[in-house]
Structures are given as structure tokens and as C-alpha cells.
Amino acid sequence: MSTEAFEPELMDYSRRQPRLPEPVIEGNDALDIPLDERMEMYRLQQELRQFEKRAYDLFMQNLVKGTSHLSLGMEAVATGFGRALRPDDYSFATYRGHAHTLARGAPMGPVMAELLGRSNGILGGKGGSMHLASVEHGMMGSYAIIGAHLCIANGAGWSAQLRGTEQVAVVFFGDGTTNIGAFHEALNFAKIWELPVVFVCENNLYMEYTPIDLVTAVEHPAADRATAYGLEPILVDGNDADAVYDVAQGVIETARRGEGPSLVEAVTYRHGGHSRADPGKYRPPGEVEAWLDRDPIITYHQRLLRLGVPEGDLTRIAQDVARRVDEATEFAKAGPVPDEGDLMTDMWADGGSAWRN
């Protein structure tokens, strides 16, 4: 690869072979997941999808400033894990964290208002899209510098271990994150202390604009590193909420029983660019289309029909979610912009920011 990679035509990543999804595993229809749980997962995926689409529209209307990193196409991972967690468990996400925040039950209106920079935002406008958190829902933050939050999640697991609460910390990160030192420090540390932490790599095949296989020594950026830290390699179809839920339940229970950390690699794909500014031109023709055909929500819809759910029930869920996204949008738009009084608060635990007398 070393010399080849510098051939100009190979440096145009859109001219590489597309990386196509594996076919849907219809056998997963038979996974032992109750139908009402599946209906909840359908609803949650609809929420994440419709929320992200609305966030995108609001960007295009210039109501959301800055940048945003959407999870469109990746909803099954947040859904499968979000539904498998106990309310007092902890989650940690990256800047691509809208879905993980909503999946823990944070209300849509304040999350949307945060994207709009309003004072009724979930962080009062101080964090924005890349730093969503909702401590009361166990969502312990979105971290925008690659790597650190894997180490921080260890601390939440350590604290649960010390307090004997059987809480579990789940930390989500991308394929690109497996090449930074903190990933390796965190896994080794979690294993030697047998921390109740689940590391979830959302492998969407690209870091920012570079295909992950061009910059990674192994084929599966997370799973192929697992054995180096005394862990089982676990690969899961990240576009199948049932498959994710099934794996999530297992690794979360392992952690809860005090049997230590796990590393899961969920293979998925983002439908849009890396962030708002990215048209995603580096992707080979046919690749996006192939993954759109394996859209986690369309395929889940088909599964539910196979399982005998009437189409009308699914339509009603989608419509109900659409109404709630509209309400969240109205709530956000109606929110006041933060004022000067908000600027200097919340740095210290006393509520202020004084650094001198």
C-alpha cells in the first residue's frame, strides 16, 4: 500500500472499490426479543431519524449555526444500546451524539433548542451540538476531541465499582478513534481493573474524509485489536437494531456481573457527510446507494411486517414522531436567546466564574 497509495488516481478515494454492506440477516427475525420491545426500538429509530433530518433542515435555514455531525443511517447502534441500558447506567458519546442523547430519554425540545443556541437548550446554549449531555438521564456528555472520553468512561465504571451499584458505562466512538493512543490506554486500563465498561466502536468506514482501511493496520479497527487487551473480538451488524440489542444485552450483563469490559465493533454507514460542511464526494459511486438500500429503519420496518405487525401501526408511530419533532422545533424556535447574565455563570461549582478577588 505504501507506494501505491501515492498514485494520484488512488488518492482520489472516490475511485476506489466501494465497500458494500453485508445482506440483512433474516435469521435475526428469530432473535428472542419481545414484540413490544421491537416496537419501542422502531419508535426510537424513527425519533432519531426524524430529529436528525429536522436538525439538517434547520441548518439549511441557518437557524443552527456552527457545525453538526448527524447519525443518519447509524440509528440502530444508539437504539440497540440505548434500549438495553438501565436508567441509571452511564453513556458517553462523541460530537456525533444527538442520537445517543435522545436514546437515553433526553427530551427532544431542549436538545433541539440547544442546537439553536437558545437558553431553553439542554445546556443553556453553552455546549451546542457537539457537547450534548443530560446527567439526569445518565448521558454523561459528548466529547469532541478524539479519544479522551474512553478514558473518562473508565472513571464512571470505576466509580460504579467502588460504590457497588452495578451500574455500567457505555462509551461510543468511531472507527477513526481506534488509532489514537487514548483508545489503547483506555482498553488496557479497563481490563486490568476489570471495569464495568462497554466500548462501542461505530465503524462507519470513514474517519473524516479518509477511508478507515487506508489508515489502519488491521481489517477491523476495533475487533482486531481486542485480543491485545485480553478481550473477545465482537463484530455486529450495526444496521440491525435487533442484532445490536442482542449483543448489547450480553456485554452489559457481563459488565454488571463484575466480569469486566467488552469491546464491540458495530459496522454501519453514515448516509450524509461527516459534518454539515461535507458533501461526502470521496465516496465511490454506488456505495451510498448500496447502504441506503440497507437503511436500518427500512429493513427494520420490513422485519416488523414479516413478524405480522400491521403497516398502519408503523405509520401511526412515524406520524406521532413527526408531530413530536414539530413540537420540539416550535419549542426550540420559541426559546429566548441567552443573555449577558448567562455568559459568566457555570464555570465553578458555586455557579460563577470569578478567578480573583
Binding site: 449531555a133 473518562i152 472513571g155 464555570m347 465553578w348 461549582a349 466564574s353
Partner: protein
Amino acid sequence: MAELSYRDAVAYGIAQEMRRDPNLVMLGEDIAAAGGVFKTTVGLLDEFGPRRIRDTPISEQAILGAAMGAAMTGIPVIAEIMFSDFLAVCFDIVANEMAKSRYMTGGQMTVPVVVRTANGGGSRFGAQHSQSVENWCMMIPGLKVVAPSNSRDVVGLMAASIRDPDPVVFFEHKSLLATKGEVPEGEIVDELGKATVVREGTDCTIVALALMVPRALAAAERLAGEGISAEVIDLRTLVPLDTQTVLASVAKTNRLYTVEENPRLCGWGAEVASIVGDEAFWDLDGPLVRITTPHIPLPAAEALEDMAIPSVDRIHETITKTLD
């Protein structure tokens, strides 16, 4: 109580707080079984056990990440970074994570972590094990910065730092470890952001920190023999910064000197001088003078290191030359 070395005061201060708060834990490289590479944590493993005093791998990001994650979920943590120079390896967690999480989340998170670290020169360790990096931390909104100069303050400021709900970087000076000082009986708890006037005087104010405090005091003693009365302030904490004590002193002496071990550019004295220039301009009878380590990496050779870091001679000479 008898005299205690600065080194022993570290473990003494930590033990005082660990007895008070059974949730408090500590982690770091070689801190448990070995008692720390500087022997500042000797005895803690025996008293508090391996659950609360834990050795870690050489993984500074993992150490501070674990400290932060535990702290924000209800367990206060002391983390040791062996040499302050190594803060550069994990500065993301210090500067971008611990310091900002509370503000970024609109106050949802509280991070009661104390990062203890061995700081400063004088040990002939060369450029990567001798730096004074308190100014690296001072410039980050959201961090508190503490640097005691004597055994008693190690105990009182350690307690204050541990009890503070915000992240604190606590600098222990390597060249002070062997110094001894009186530590009173009973619980000692100071307040962050309170400087101490360690010598009263009327002709000039010398503001110093950590190792520079005994040097400023020795220079003041020499100046006294020459008829110059210098007031010496031990700043003790850089954030919060006790500007009132400094401004009150300058109002009386009309001259300000800072003695800083950090390299010159953006050293803490620049901020102190700027505040005094702004707010006490009409009190001043002469220029604001900063005595600092020059803007160079620290050399290893004894002779060179001694030239670099402000000495009693240099402090004395600078003041006699510039005070009229």
C-alpha cells in the same frame, strides 16, 4: 506537633482527608506499594488499603480520565502525575475535559479532582523533568492552581483542594521536599485564593510562589541589612488569585517585584503586574519588575540551571539596582 518535611506533609495532608471522607480515592504510577517516586505517598497504602490507593500503568490519559469520570459520578479523586512536565501528555484531559465540562454542560457536571504533580527545578534533571508549568494551568479557564511553599501550607491547601468541588492542579515543588516546617496539631484546612504576607515591609513588595518564597525571604533578609524593608507575599494559589493582598501591599510600599520560576513569557507575574499596573498605577513609584527564569528550556548542568532559575543573589541584585 514536631517539624514535618514538605515531603511527609503531602502524605500527612492526604491522610487527614482520607480519614474524613471514606469515598476519597487516589491513583497514580508507583504511588501505592512504592510510596511514590518522591516518597510523598508513603504509608497511605498501609492505612487505606489497595481499593483506595491504586497503582496504575504508565497511561497518563487513562489516569486522569479515570479520575475525571469517577469524580463526575460521585467519587472524589486525587490523581498523581509523577512529573509536571508529563502534564503535556494528558493535557487534553486537564485543559479540554476537566476544565470545561461544567461550563459546557450548563452546570450539569461537577468534577472534584485534585491533580497532584511534582513541579520545578533545582534537581539537575534537565529540560523534561524540571519545568515550572504552573502558568500552563493558570491560563486555562476552569482550573484552580495551587502551589504551596512550606509544610504547613501543603497540609492546609491539600485539604482545601480536596474539599473544593472544582478541578485543582496541585504543584508540589521538588526542591522543597526535604525542607522542614512546623505543622500545628489538629485538622488544618485553608481557603483557596488567600495569599500570605510572610514578611512585612515598607519599601517594596516581592510576590513569590513555591520555591521562590524562601529565596525571596532570604533576599529580603539581606536587603534589611542594607536598610531596605521588603514585604514578601506568598501567593499560594494562582487561581483564585488573591489580588487584594497584593494591591494592599503595593499601596503601602509603592513598588512591585514578582519572582517567578516559570519561563518569562506569559508567566503568572505578567498577570499580577498587569493588574497592579491597571488598578494601582497611581500608587507606584517605579516600574513593575519581573524576575523570572529566562525564556529557554532548562539546562541540566548544575552551573547552568543555577544561572537560569532566580537565585537569592539575582533577586537581591535586581532589587538594589532598580529601587531608588
